[in-house]
Amino acid sequence: MAKLNVNGAVMEVTAHPDTPLLWVLREQIGLTGTKYGCGVAQCGACTVHIDGQAVRACSLPLSAVNDSQKIVTIEGLSPNGMHPVQVAWRELDVPQCGYCQSGMIMAAAALLAEKKNPTDADIDAAMTNICRCGTYNRVRAGIKQAAQTRQG
């Protein structure tokens, strides 16, 4: 039995301590917005926030997390999908298939929390997520638009 703080609620989960956080979220807690893409910290589809930092949940065992850490998934990023990144994403039609987009949005939100006005170089460094549909240019534009609206 382990305790986790996910999207503001403390909950108990039963899983082997080696189970990656990704699979605890998806299979124990039922939050499937966080995706499996590679399982080896390469693609970022599984990105969640832990105390505000972007973390790849596929490569973090349950044993490494406790309920003093605040885990936020795409489902908990904003109450109604109104985080500036989500709004910008809809305005620019960023997603294609959408499968990578939870991870993209979580990575972008963490970047903007750290840097109000990220440069192209900041975006290149922070956004190493894979998108096979090729939404990269719209992801970049979406981050810049979200940065603008936050300041506006």
Binding site: M11, A15, H16, T19, P20, W23, R26, E27, Q28, I29, G30, L31, T32, G33, T34, K35, Y36, G37, C38, G39, V40, Q42, C43, A45, T73, I74, E75, L77, G81, Q86, W89, R90, D93, V94, P95, Q96, C97, G98, Y99, C100, Q101, S102, I105, I123, D124, A125, M127, T128, N129, I130, C131, R132, C133, G134, T135, Y136, N137, R138, V139, R140
Partner: protein, 731 residues
């Protein structure tokens, strides 16, 4: 909370039961949440007026547009909705869409036509009948309103879902007359609007399905949950054609969460568990012995040797011929020759293969992401041992397809597993590793290009010898033409509306020495256009340089008879500023090709630093797809195609060792990321009068344009994809 407590998604996927209705073909449909899908013979929900197969209008004015093609990120759902709405005159903001199932279509004599979502066909092959569906529905709605008013339909107009009787100004909403409209006679002929009157087609409508992709709410196949569902992790013999010899189930059967340890077919072992992670953990611990079969000795080296032999083989299938190329080259003032190569590549969609299946001795239902619902149904029924009428496939949106999900080896596997656990929903999910080594790969080929130039540098003869795999031989052998695979010659054909060669060369021979391996090839976004465009367009560049001519001027001389090919090439040349110097340190390359019924060209700007590091700054793309349904969607497809094609150029290679694919994840099969993505400028230039595809065509010009720019920058000809291990330092 455990897995089994999780409530299934309320609306999708749904299993829809159809009851054949009245004479006008009224059909009553109702949704069932996934949990109830298992309960056969549930009572029908209240009827919803179906105007025709494509259009359902609810009393609250919701317009339900039905989709046969699948949405995998390419925007087909929105484009098809635009086509229907153009003729339906409905309120765009009230549109929702739903998938029909192949089972429903089968029961209604294929009312929804082809489900195949590949070959950039989703829009262009459906446009006529879906527009007719919209127009027919509009006429029936107007006729119903007119009947209610006892007016003549000619005095009524429909706009934004409201019908107005012009003489009196009376109005009725679509939802108010839908029930009556569904009983109207179906007009036998309908006139479609002239393109000059279009107000929805040709506009950049935002996608209908974006919101749920920004909140994590969209349910993909891998996210499905059903009460009592168990999860399956699989491993297939890593050598294609190999089999399971034995496995020691006892070693893992007591591991946490393990329910069943099974074999599926003759080549796959499987663990079924309470969670996928538990199943996969046990699978990784399962001792398996394989019978690798005869392909254990095949490697990238043996395949390359076979392809090299084909480059000079005397026998080959002819794709395009004119005059006497061999004689012209032999007698030419100057001969130019070069050999190119293109490797196996995995589609690697972000969502690994998966399917959820409930099998009983009398019924088999499947929920899965597929690019072809009808082919999925056929595969499911065959594996289930049931007639197609006792099966159905309930589609969910795809987490990427790119061609991989047009074939259903993974679905067959899932059904074979579910069959061994009757009545229990089984969700089978491949690991990324399984997805990488059990792919259906971009075909491997080599190509020898030989040409003759006269004393003035004019191209007098060209011989293009392709050696390598045939996709059709593996996928649809019945479609071979006396052994010849016509798909090999994409973009190289002398005639036809799909992919004509864009140059007139007095002596030309394009032929194919078919050399197949045990590694299964498949349609892969862009398909054979990808290597054909590299071979032709990079060699054209080589010839221009050999002739001491500008690559654009050299091409133009050969393109006088191909005005549409030339128009897109000219458009990118003009936009990139071909006749003006590039910024300092930046170099340019061009490419053009016709594919999937569209004419496309690209112009790239790159730089290569002293250490040989490539930077792709900018690519301009021009597309003439005849009719542009949604210019913004086309831009997105061009960006996506370039990302996919440049990824293939930079990194895409699956190698073979001991008969198996070596690369098992994105750490060894790298892909392009945001830092390497160039700026993309898209010129959409529809010339009208034809319907070309947009999901794939521009992929084919991305790589050759960049390769030609690399040559301009470095003086080095890269003739083998991918670039990753090649030295780009200035020659």
């Amino acid at each position: 909370m455990t897995l089994h407590d999780v409530t299934p998604p309320a609306t999708r996927p749904s299993r829809r039961t159809l009851l054949k209705g009245a004479a006008a073909g009224l059909v009553v449909g109702f949704h069932l949440p996934a949990s109830k899908a298992l309960a056969q013979g549930a009572a029908p929900a209240p009827s919803t007026p179906e105007i025709n197969a494509w259009v359902v209008i609810r009393p609250d004015d919701t317009v339900v547009l039905r989709m046969a093609r699948s949405e995998m990120g390419q925007g087909t759902r929105t484009g098809l909705a635009q086509l229907i709405a153009e003729e339906l005159h409905c309120d765009w903001s009230r549109i929702v869409t739903e998938y029909v199932t192949p089972g429903q279509s089968l029961a209604r004599n294929r009312a929804w036509g082809n489900f195949q979502t590949a070959g950039s066909q989703g829009i262009r092959q459906s446009q006529d009948y879906v527009r007719r569906g919209g127009a027919t529905a509009r006429i029936m709605l107007i006729n119903a309103a007119a009947a209610q008013w006892q007016a003549t339909p000619e005095h009524c107009v429909a706009k934004d879902g409201v019908i107005t009787h012009t003489p009196t100004g009376r109005t009725l909403r679509y939802g108010q007359v839908a029930e009556a409209a569904s009983k109207q006679l179906v007009p036998q002929t309908v006139a479609l609007k002239d393109p000059s009157a279009w107000t929805v087609i040709g506009t950049s409508r935002p996608r209908l399905d974006t919101a749920d992709k920004t909140t994590g709410k969209l349910i993909y196949g891998s996210d499905l949950k059903m009460p009592g569902m168990l999860l399956a992790a699989v491993q297939q013999c890593p050598v294609f054609g190999g089999k399971v010899k034995s496995f020691d189930a006892a070693k893992v059967k007591d591991m946490p969460g393990v329910r069943h340890v099974l074999q599926a077919g003759d080549n796959t072992v499987c663990v079924v568990g309470d969670t996928w992670w538990q199943a996969k953990t046990a699978l990784d611990a399962l001792p398996v012995e394989w019978d690798y079969g005869p392909n254990r000795t095949v490697s990238s080296e043996t395949i390359a040797a076979m392809l090299r032999e084909g480059l000079n083989a005397s026998e080959a299938f002819v794709g395009n011929t004119q005059g006497d190329a061999k004689a012209a080259i032999a007698g030419a003032a100057r001969k130019v020759e070069a050999t190119y190569g293109y490797p196996f590549q995995n589609h690697a969609p972000m969502e690994p293969m998966n399917a959820t299946v409930v099998w009983t001795p009398t019924r088999c239902d499947v929920w899965c992401p597929t690019q072809n619902g009808e082919a999925a149904l056929a595969a499911a029924a065959a594996a289930a041992g049931l007639p197609q009428t006792a099966c159905d496939v309930h589609r969910v949106d795809l987490g990427g397809g790119f061609g991989r999900r047009t074939t259903h080896d993974w679905l067959t596997q899932a059904v074979l597993i579910a069959k061994q656990v009757p009545g229990v929903p089984i969700k089978m999910l491949w690991s990324r590793e399984e997805d990488m080594v059990q792919g259906r790969y971009h075909p491997v080929t080599m190509c020898k290009m030989s040409a003759g130039l006269d004393a003035q540098g004019n191209l007098t003869g060209l011989h293009m010898r392709i050696s390598g795999q045939s996709i059709l031989s593996y996928v649809f052998p019945n479609a071979l033409q006396n052994g010849r695979d016509p798909v090999t010659f994409q973009g190289l054909n002398p005639t036809g509306a799909e992919g004509q060669f864009g140059y007139t060369i007095p002596n030309l021979l394009i032929d194919h020495a078919m050399r197949n391996t045990h590694v299964p090839p498949h349609f892969w976004r862009g398909v054979n256009n990808n290597q054909n465009a590299i071979y032709v367009e990079c060699f054209m560049d080589e010839l221009a340089h050999a002739a001491g001519q500008d690559p654009l001027a050299f091409r133009r001389k050969l393109m006088a008879n191909h005005p549409k090919h030339l128009a897109v090439l000219n458009a990118v040349a003009e936009r990139i500023g071909w006749d003006k110097p590039a910024p300092a340190g930046v170099f340019r390359g061009l490419a053009q090709q016709m594919g999937f019924g569209s004419y496309v060209a690209a112009a790239a700007e790159v730089s290569v630093d002293a250490a040989g590091k490539l930077k792709m700054h900018r690519i301009v793309a021009a597309t003439d797809c005849g009719v542009a349904v949604n210019p913004r969607q086309i831009e997105m497809q061009v960006e996506g195609s370039f990302s996919y094609g440049l990824s293939a150029l930079l990194y895409g290679e699956c190698t073979v060792k001991d008969g198996a694919i070596v690369e098992t994840n994105f750490d060894t099969y790298n892909v392009l990321r945001i830092d390497e993505m160039p700026k993309v400028e898209t010129i959409v230039m529809p010339s009208g009068g034809f319907w070309g595809g947009v999901g794939e065509p521009t992929i084919m010009v991305a790589a050759p344009a960049v390769l030609n720019a690399i040559f301009a920058a470095t003086g080095k000809r890269i003739r083998q994809v991918p670039i990753k291990d090649q030295d780009l330092k200035r020659a």
